[in-house]
Symmetry: C2
Subunit: 142 residues, 2 copies
């Protein structure tokens, strides 16, 4: 299986005039292997485990560029920024976080997306991104 997201991201980076440095490449590679959101610190730690150590500042800088190009999606959870690949179209999901065990699950729902698009229109907003977060007790903890 190829990694369409990584390829897409590299292409977009080049198109935006960015060079291909090692640190950003490593962050890109790690993100594509994950589906769950990761904090900058978590990315830094995992890269170190994989012997592809990258300065924490470079992780932040890479994520900043990627976020601005809308190649990764940023969300704040419990006061810390977390990131995940942003898939160009389709494959759009949201998160439910368990207050007890802290575990996070992802879900998607076409009707929710449709409803949110409608809401944006109603507000006169050109909505470019949106987040939905559910909090409560997961099946195991409830």
């Amino acid at each position: 299986m190829t990694e369409p997201w990584v390829d897409h991201a590299r292409r977009e980076l080049a198109r935006a005039g960015h060079r291909a440095g090692g640190a950003r490449g490593a962050v890109l590679g790690l993100l594509s292997d994950q589906h769950c959101v990761l904090s900058a610190q978590a990315i830094h730690d995992r890269l170190r485990e994989q012997d592809r150590a990258v300065g924490l500042a470079s992780v932040y800088r890479a994520l900043d560029v990627l976020t601005h190009l809308k190649l990764v999606h940023r969300m704040d959870v419990d006061g810390t920024a977390c990131y995940e690949p942003a898939y160009a179209s389709g494959e759009h999901h949201h998160h439910a976080i368990c207050d007890r065990c802290g575990r996070m699950s992802a879900f998607e729902d076409a009707e929710l997306e449709r409803l949110i698009d409608g809401l944006g229109e109603r507000l006169g907003y050109r909505v470019e991104a949106h987040d939905v977060v559910l909090r409560g007790a997961c099946p195991a903890c409830a």
Copy 2:
């Protein structure tokens, strides 16, 4: 017009065994006058303007207690925690934030609430709170 939320909050605080201190009371009073979300720093600043100065640490402590009692709702925006009164039932709204001017608007939608409740059930979650955030260009900036 009375302030049902403040009264409710004071009652719940007492019921949870908390004493009525000046700092927390001031935070409570300020929050009830606002509809928009406020950061801890903003609360601290406004209280100072009103000559009801409260230590920043006390603001954080008050907000922490109130959040745990589910009397205020916390949301992270751009890496900073913001707070607003949590209305026991009904009067539940969400936010749209403009990427350009940073202004925030509130909206509510019964269908959205219904849909989210359904999603929680589908996931087996006992959903206790949820957030929906739209990001994009507001009518004025678009």
